[in-house]
Symmetry: C2
Subunit: 205 residues, 2 copies
DNA sequence: GGACCCATGTAAAGGGTTACATGATTCA
DNA sequence: TGAATCATGTAACCCTTTACATGGGTCC
């Protein structure tokens, strides 16, 4: 059962930090959990209604002298309980789909220059993200040293830093490999090789 | 437009290595691209029909003396062209959703023992995968040194090895952090902090 | 006899993304 | 005047996942 609605809990989590409107939630999501969790308006607004009908959040209309009305949502007691209960559950391993790897895996049919082009682009994007994560860590530590959430925010940021650093090394290695690739003459498929093996990389969960 | 059907190309790619039945495709997918791309029967069989009607694959019924008939699919010339054209396109950055990180980000509301429990489990699973990838690399190099696909298979395997090694370090660090976590007294939300900042980690694509 | 593998599918449900839709305010 | 931001939503589509369904063969 991996089809459960997790957006609901992302929204509850964000509302647990402070009351917000749907619009705020979108912006807060981008700014905080954005690099590992994305939500669009079309998931936020319907979910807020659902959460309201389940009694997990309450709302209040705030009129703004200049500008449109805002509908501000807050967590209810019940909402807090649901959130905490969910946080305790072991996360389900989510199925991964990596289009870049899929294209590289079947890359022998292609002139390597195409792959090098998009790998170099992806590498630059990765480096920018990495630097941005590092600067956020530095600023958090110096500007918000006493916040109770700090250790947890740092944990998620360090996840990004660890994996993106590793990714950068892989990009460099891979681009170099592709620049000097020498193809063998055989054409046995990988699939056969692994299938024949006792248990190459099977069902290790 | 991230809604395009990529399963089709995964199937074309697998069929490019050799003709297979739907059942074979499932097994071959698990054995080769399984750790970064999953396909189920309910996506394979309908897609094979679609590919057939588009003329990208052809099929042939093979009777087996013992056992049920097999419907074996092969790439057509047109299928080859479509596959190559797709391989040249720059991969779209896919939205990431990491439930583990989501739970950790809001983890301050929780007793750390829950997180430590599932982190330790996840770490073991990660280590097993890592070792399996390393052994596949070793075996490929020694047993299939001359195959033209080898450099590309190694590239995807090394991706897994790099990122999972980094992940292992992060697991260790994180579990230690959580065992000794000392919470601050403040309760400013992270979101406000980043939103106020000029451009903490925004829209870096 | 029961469990498990081979082999091929269908149906329903659910979630997420894209595109569409509206309207006010602010800034250049 | 036009572009961008604030603010809230709806509708349709597509894909994926889960569950259901069938039937023969093999091994213990």
């Amino acid at each position: 059962m991996g089809r459960r609605n997790k957006s609901k809990f992302a929204i509850l989590g964000l509302l647990s930090t402070e009351p917000m409107s749907g619009y705020d939630i979108k912006r807060a999501a981008e700014a905080s959990i954005g690099y590992f969790w994305q939500e669009g308006y079309s998931s936020i607004y319907p979910n807020l209604k659902k959460l309201l009908s389940e009694g997990l959040v309450s709302n209040k209309v705030e009129a703004q002298t200049p500008g449109p009305d805002r509908i501000v949502y807050s967590l209810t007691e019940k909402g807090w309980e649901e959130l905490k209960a969910w946080l305790m559950l072991e996360p389900e391993p989510e199925p991964v789909r990596n289009e870049l790897l899929l294209k590289l895996f079947f890359g022998e049919h292609l002139d390597a220059k195409h792959q090098i082009r998009y790998l170099e682009k992806a590498r630059v994007a990765n480096e920018i993200r990495l630097k941005s994560l590092q600067s956020i860590v530095a600023r958090l530590k110096s500007e918000l040293p006493d916040q109770s959430g700090l250790p947890y925010w740092l944990i998620t940021l360090k996840f990004g830093i660890h994996t993106r650093t590793a990714l950068d090394a892989w990009f460099e290695e891979t681009i170099n490999d592709l620049k000097t690739v020498v193809k063998g003459s055989g054409s046995k498929p990988f699939t056969k090789f692994v299938l024949k093996a006792a248990d190459g990389g099977k069902n290790v969960e």
